[in-house]
């Protein structure tokens, strides 16, 4: 019955001179997301977007609600002719079968040519509704149902449902960031939250075959695929770095308790090089403070010191359960908990250091050809489009 979807975007309409480019990007993202659904024309007017549907609006709304950042809410809209009887009939159609005891009518009238004024429309519709639905009464302060009426040039628009959406900024509106994607629960959530603020995310996975199974790589590709619909262009570029030689080297150092610290330092070095090469402005990790030995303040300090590129840690203040809740919402959880070893779990020493210092790390790294190992790992890094599993580079 609703042929039109009204899309509201909040924050981006505040973005001053960038507003137009934000809006254009949001329009593009909506079109990418809706590929294959029965949507018609998309129009942008006065800080809102209208999407024509052929009446089956639910699938379109569901996709927008699930995947498109930058949208605050959506309403399915009934379009009627600019004539009171037709508007009343529309009100009846919308209210029929809606739960609730109280209502109010809220009218906007940008089309000043319409013969009735705003209070007159409110009165005429309110009276009609009271007569048609004896169980309803008016409550202008805290109504169960709010019937919105907009008198516009192209007709009268009526709606009551407001479906809350993801918010955030349009995917890709901020810039590129590289997500260290391990295969656990946390890193996909960190990627999702970065995408929410407009980061165009690319993944970087450290692969230690034959110390880990090929299934662990397939798992990370699947996580990338699951993140694609939230990301810029609806796709997800995944860099797979051959990390085996570094893992082997780390097993030889005289300070086994530092191997995780050194491993993370190697990961950041490789991430930084890749970010510079790919013109990314940040690395993104799933660190949550104090969760494991490499995520204590001391560890993060020592690990972080190998790079001066910003590192985003969107999960830093989250408890495990909060992270799990999001990963279930974005449907990465089931894949993340598949029990294949990733490179963080195969090589865990018996007693990893929880308070490593930079001096200790430098001393342990003195035994290794750090630059050579990083260069070799980078030279064996290739790239996959996780949404299609196609090799890119």
């Amino acid at each position: 019955m609703y042929p039109l979807l009204l899309v509201r975007y909040g924050e981006i309409s505040l973005k001053g001179r960038n507003r137009k480019s934000f809006e254009d990007l949001l329009m593009r993202n909506i079109k990418t997301t809706l590929r294959g659904t029965p949507y018609g024309k998309i129009r942008k007017t006065f800080g809102r977007i209208y999407i024509e549907t052929n009446g089956s609006w639910e699938e379109i709304a569901r996709r927008l609600q699930q995947h498109v950042f930058g949208i605050v809410s959506i309403s399915p809209v009934l379009r009627r002719e600019l004539e009171l009887g037709s508007i009343q009939e529309g009100a009846r159609l919308i209210l029929e079968g809606l739960p609730g005891q109280t209502f109010k009518v809220e009218t906007r009238r940008p089309n000043k040519k319409f013969p009735l004024t705003t209070p007159e429309i409110n009165n005429a519709l309110g009276g009609f509704i009271l007569r048609s639905f004896p169980h309803l009464s008016v409550d202008v302060h805290n109504p169960d149902i709010t019937l919105h009426v907009e008198i516009r040039q192209e007709g009268a628009f009526l709606y009551s449902q407001v479906i809350p959406c993801l918010g955030g900024l349009p995917a890709g509106s901020s810039g590129k960031g590289i997500l260290l994607l391990s295969g656990g629960i946390d890193s996909p959530v960190a990627g999702y939250l970065s995408m929410k603020r407009g980061v165009a995310v690319e993944g970087l996975h450290f692969y230690s075959y034959p110390f880990t199974t090929e299934r662990s790589k397939e798992k990370v590709i699947e996580l990338g695929r699951l993140l694609s619909p939230y990301n810029a262009h609806g796709s997800f570029k995944l860099w797979i770095c051959h990390f085996t030689e570094i893992q082997k080297a780390l097993q030889t150092i005289s300070y086994p308790e530092l191997s995780i610290t050194l491993m993370r330092r190697f990961m950041l070095r490789i991430g930084t090089e890749l970010a510079n090469r790919e013109k990314a402005y940040a690395l993104i990790t799933g660190d949550s403070l104090g969760q494991v030995a490499s995520q204590t303040m001391e560890s993060i300090y020592t690990i972080n010191s190998v790079t001066n590129i910003p590192i985003y840690r969107p999960l830093i203040g989250m408890d495990k359960q909060e992270i799990i809740d999001i990963s279930q919402k974005i449907e990465t959880y089931e894949t993340s908990i598949l029990p294949y070893d990733d490179c963080c779990t195969v090589f865990v020493p018996k007693n990893p250091a929880t308070r490593p210092t930079i001096e200790q790390a430098l001393e342990a790294e003195g035994e290794l050809d750090v630059a050579g190992l990083v260069e070799e790992a980078l030279s064996k890094t290739h790239c996959i489009d996780a949404s299609t599993s196609q090799e890119i580079i």
Partner: protein
């Protein structure tokens, strides 16, 4: 250079050319449903009857004692739950004896039955993977209704004393009004050691197709005449109502062919496999800090071994790079973290369990290939140790 050396035949085998050829017409030409009234159906029914007859001849049982199932797991479930789901047991669950080293498709049924009030005794095994017959005899209670013991263990290859267990049960049954039912999971025994169903005194026996160069998706349950199985799946009247669902004709034809070949070649194959196994053992023994987990007199096709300071999982992936395919423990559990319940049951410390792999042979493996496998084991083990040391 070899193409690949597949040594995970206890997980599954490829379908042999002869089996694939036998199955071929049953996909698109002889596609009939044995229940259909027309010629297509009659032809299929004839094939079905013929296959059942042929297997019953090979196994020396009556054709009506055989039920085709969807897998070995399904056959185990139908066998065990087919006994325990008798209406009488709903209010009066009884007692079952099984072993600690059964396949998950038996052990997890037992766990389920425990939630329904059944008491289950899990027989211990010694370091050879053997049960103690005296302990078994002592475990028999007046309310014991079912005994389930596997013929060959899938991780170790230990051969359990089925005939002795059967005799003890038969003796106990002489002065019982309700007989103890004896179920044997013989999935890993078929085609590997001689199976004599009448001598075993088994009432129920489980087999599977894809461990003997037959197709996946087909299993077989033997149920001695007079064994009262209660259906756990409901549907049409196929397989005596015990396993409803349209018969998997290509699978049944493939299974029949695979059993036929396996039984015909049993003697030659056993001799060959025992030679390969001995060759492997002597090769592994020459590698430093290695150990053999399988018993000396185990089934000819399974050898479980281990190496100190090594993770079996890592060794599997290193060998894979040389296109040698082995597994850690059983394929069904090795995807999961945690250690093998079988190796735990024979009293191995978890360090040693983590360092273990299972090699399962097949008749098409040559001595040259085993020579290469042994030298690869030596090389890779040393290579991994160097990394970790």
């Amino acid at each position: 250079m070899h193409h690949e050396i597949y040594l995970d035949n206890s997980a599954t085998t490829p379908v042999s050319d002869q089996v694939a050829l036998a199955m071929e017409p049953y996909w698109a030409i002889q596609y009939g449903n044995p229940s259909s009234p027309h010629m297509r159906g009659v032809a299929a029914e004839k094939t079905l009857r013929h296959c059942r007859q042929q297997i019953s001849d090979l196994l020396r049982v009556h054709p009506y004692e055989l039920y085709f199932t969807g897998s070995g797991t399904e056959a185990n479930n139908i066998a065990i739950q087919g006994i325990t789901s008798a209406p009488h047991f709903r209010k009066h669950p009884g007692h079952i004896i099984t072993t600690a080293i059964e396949h998950p498709s038996v052990l997890n049924v037992m766990k389920h039955l425990e939630t329904l009030g059944w008491a289950v005794t899990y027989l211990d095994v010694d370091k050879e993977g053997q049960i103690d017959l005296a302990q078994f005899k002592e475990s028999l209670l007046p309310e014991t209704k079912l005994v389930s013991v596997m013929m060959v263990n899938n991780e170790l290859g230990s051969i359990l004393p089925i005939e002795a267990v059967g005799e003890i049960i038969q003796e106990a049954n002489t002065n019982r009004s309700s007989k103890i039912i004896f179920h044997v999971d013989a999935v890993q025994a078929l085609g590997q050691i001689p199976i004599n169903i009448p001598n075993s005194k088994a009432d129920l026996m489980t087999f599977s197709g894809h461990k003997i160069f037959g197709p996946k998706g087909i299993g077989l349950l033997y149920a001695r005449r007079g064994t009262n199985l209660h259906p756990i799946l409901f549907g049409g009247n196929q397989e005596g109502g015990i396993r409803p669902g349209t018969e998997n004709m290509p699978g049944i034809v493939g299974l029949t062919k695979a059993i036929q070949i396996a039984m015909e070649d049993l003697e030659t194959n056993t001799k060959h496999l025992l030679e390969l196994r001995a060759q492997l053992i002597s090769g592994v023994n020459k590698i430093e800090h290695s150990y053999i987990n399988s018993p000396e007199d185990g089934a000819p096709h399974i050898l479980n071994i281990g190496f100190e300071d090594i993770r079996g999982e890592v060794l599997v992936h290193f060998l894979e790079q040389r296109r040698i395919f082995v597994s850690m423990g059983a394929a069904c559990s090795s995807n999961r973290r945690g250690t093998s319940h079988v190796l735990k049951a024979i009293g191995m410390p978890s360090e040693k369990i983590l360092g273990s792999i299972r090699i399962s042979l097949a008749p098409n493996i040559t001595k040259d290939q085993i020579r290469y496998v042994v030298s690869s084991l030596g090389d890779t083990v040393e290579q991994i140790r160097r990394i970790y040391m």
